[in-house]
Symmetry: C2
Subunit: 450 residues, 2 copies
């Protein structure tokens, strides 16, 4: 029987995070203050100094504190699997491997950064963290992170999701978090919006503003972000470093690495550790996949833009559809972000990675094929990557090439079965390319003279 | 750092199932035909001959066919974990280990038998399997098993659950199963019940009758049962055999093994491989845990009773509350069975195991403590066992004894968060001991002269 699983011992969990910044051929552009448009650090009332240091560090490796390593051991190292049954179903000579982060108790990769963010906040004397969540993936990861560190956690959850996805809310509460539907009565901005529109169903932009106001207003509270920022991407590099070791066990090296991008942290965690090899001449094709309905990298410019809808967050150089762009309600909630992590954006700009956009009905078709072959029901987000993995494996079938393809499978779809139901009952549709809305949003990019 | 995980390579997955029958101090009483009350085999129109052979086999080990081993590799071997954070939270000198079956794609141990049942049905020429499901755990496991073997799967799902737990239904459909709410229009018995009561919310008894009728009526279809029978328990022994190897890696041997019992298959899978050691004189306390609301072993007699509500299934010697007993609607749907596996019953009778009953509010309190310590949100069923593990660990704290406690953690609670919500919001209650209903049901036991 061929080997299916490549399993590391817990002694082989990385003890350092990998920071790609010193290895990039060009330095990252700075973050700019949203008011002055001058280079800025992460605002100190919102982030502990230690995370700000990590954000701009030029050290190649940063030690993972022992307390974090001990908690990583609850679910790390995660498995690397050979998708033998999928290969057979496709009739491809390609070897397909997937690195599965859905076995974390939060069900996704998000916990890899939630734990360190809670740790550094506690070290800096905080008692609480405040954050926003859309569909609830990030909120439940941070709830667990705070629980493990003995911090309180306040989650502003977009109101429509709060009522549509009660299980995600309950999961956060099991871990002791306080969850409120946003807009809420707990902040000035929330009260203002509710006064104007008591039936507001909320948005991620509003929820961010509430969490930021909460953290600004209290000495004991930091704000926490689940993607996009450099330190968040760095915390995720444990994924790629483990994968390298596991592929070695399998006697394999990737020809193609595929992952989905929303804010960019999951896929960056996978591919960044392979960047030095690629820069040294190794032929690795690194393919990021985004939704056609929110085609940030494939259709947006590389430009200066605000990180948030309200224009209160720092300005970053990144691929963007404009901070005021509101994507259609595709089921992959985690991929509905107007911008892209600055590091991922620079890698795209420099040709280190390439990006493709796919439509959600094709994505769910691939997800069902994956589930029926491998048993795992994938979340809608990584199912975007599965679609491209299958495409590439079928190309190998035509050409006869035995490529090694590695998939970043960032989470399970246990809380997304409503979307599968829509697909299976033939009710799922694709959204037309939102050309006009993107055009309008791009007209509102901030003016930056640099 | 102390070791948290004890991980086997896939080469160490057992290649044989363990059959306890030749090692039991007394032979198992026979199954009796419900009509003649004479010893019977498993009815051939319902079960393939190979499973009937396994049911009554006196061989100590039965080879696991390679095709099944290959599919087991999708999730086996499962992890054995040291609950270091729970130990610390309790301040106990006890060592707590848990064997986690929730990492299977079906989310529980049920897949260990669903795959072989589908395999043997296919070998015997079947094209379809029919089964019933209550909350959906068994149905989703069998849907996956059939999918892997290329069989059709028809699931009669108790109507109230069909509408209350749509995610479980969708999960089965993702794997290609046909799911209908029971009572359905697809069987005579279903149509009859609907004619009398169009609003019938169904029951497991009705769903069993529909699945049995379906399998009886078609040459291409077998019936499949998820617990209770000897061959089902045997398929689960991979759990205990892996656990033995993993404890050896940890340099530990159990003083106490704890698991929940509904039909008995999950816990039997864990403890049966330890029975020979115990019979040879090893001091292992084996504790089964059941709900106070359905106290089959702690309050029922060891008696002859039908396996099903309608009295159409074979009669077995077992602990029972009477086949007509309908337990209160506790959240641990998997523990709401009037009887108990004959093998588990005989082990209790012979003093090999002992049984305790616990109430569901205490169970959920323990479940939340476990989740906050270990990250995993347990299903309500194994949370019964967690309650007793915590009790025993606290006894060790008092006595200073460093006992090794092993918990059979049979599944996750991702689809049970509604129950957690009830508990966290203070709405969960305990049911009074259903004394009168048990008395009435016990009065209806079949008369058997043996």
């Amino acid at each position: 029987m061929e080997q299916t699983k490549f399993i590391l011992s817990e002694k082989e969990i990385p003890t350092k995070w990998y920071n790609v910044q010193p290895d990039l051929p060009e330095p990252l552009p700075p973050l700019l203050h949203p008011g002055t448009k001058e280079p800025t650090i992460l605002p100190p009332p919102l982030f502990p100094a230690s995370l700000n240091e990590q954000e701009f560090s030029k050290e190649r490796y940063i030690e993972i504190p022992e307390e974090i390593q001990q908690i990583y051991r609850l679910w790390r190292p995660t498995g690397l699997y050979r998708a033998l049954r999928l290969e057979k179903a496709l009739g491809t000579p390609a070897k397909i491997f997937y690195k599965y982060e859905g076995s974390s108790p939060a069900g996704s990769h998000k916990l890899n950064t939630a734990v360190p963010q809670a740790y550094y906040a506690k070290k800096a004397g905080a008692k609480r963290l405040a954050t926003e969540t859309g569909a609830g993936q990030w909120g439940s990861a941070l709830a667990m992170g705070c629980n493990f560190m003995g911090l309180e956690c306040k989650v502003y959850m977009v109101k429509v999701s709060y009522f549509q996805k009660p299980y995600r809310r309950v999961l956060m509460e099991v871990f002791g978090a306080k969850v409120v539907p946003s807009p809420s009565q707990d902040t000035q901005i929330g009260r203002k919006i509710l006064a104007e529109d008591p039936d507001s169903s909320g948005s991620l932009g509003i929820a961010i503003s509430e969490a930021v106001e909460d953290a600004f207003g209290r000495d004991d509270t930091f704000y926490s972000l689940g993607s996009v920022l450099n330190h968040v991407l760095m915390h995720q590099t444990v994924i790629g470093m483990e994968t390298m070791k596991q592929l070695e066990m399998a006697g394999a090296y990737p020809d193609i690495i595929v992952g989905c991008i929303g804010g960019g942290s999951n896929f960056a965690g996978m591919f960044l550790p392979f960047v030095p090899d690629k820069l040294k001449g190794k032929k690795i094709q690194i393919i990021a996949v985004e939704p056609e309905a929110c085609p940030t990298v494939t259709k947006g410019p590389y430009a200066w833009d605000y990180g948030d809808v309200a224009g209160m967050a720092p300005i970053a150089k990144m691929y963007t559809l404009g901070h005021s762009f509101v994507p259609p309600p595709v089921h992959a909630g985690g991929l509905r972000y107007h911008g892209m992590a600055p590091i991922v954006s620079l890698c795209q700009k420099l040709g280190i990675i390439e990006t493709r956009a796919v439509a959600q009905t094709a994505v769910f078709k691939s997800a069902v094929q994956f589930a029926r072959s491998e048993g795992i029901v994938p979340a809608p987000e990584p199912s975007h990557a599965i679609k491209v993995v299958i495409d590439e494996a079928l190309k190998c079938k035509e050409s006869g090439q035995k490529k090694t393809i590695v998939l970043a499978l960032s989470g399970h779809g246990h809380f997304d079965l409503g979307a599968y139901d829509e697909y299976l009952s033939g009710k799922l549709a694709d959204y037309p390319y939102p050309e006009q809305k993107i055009k309008e949003a791009l007209a509102k990019l901030p003016e930056v003279k640099r």
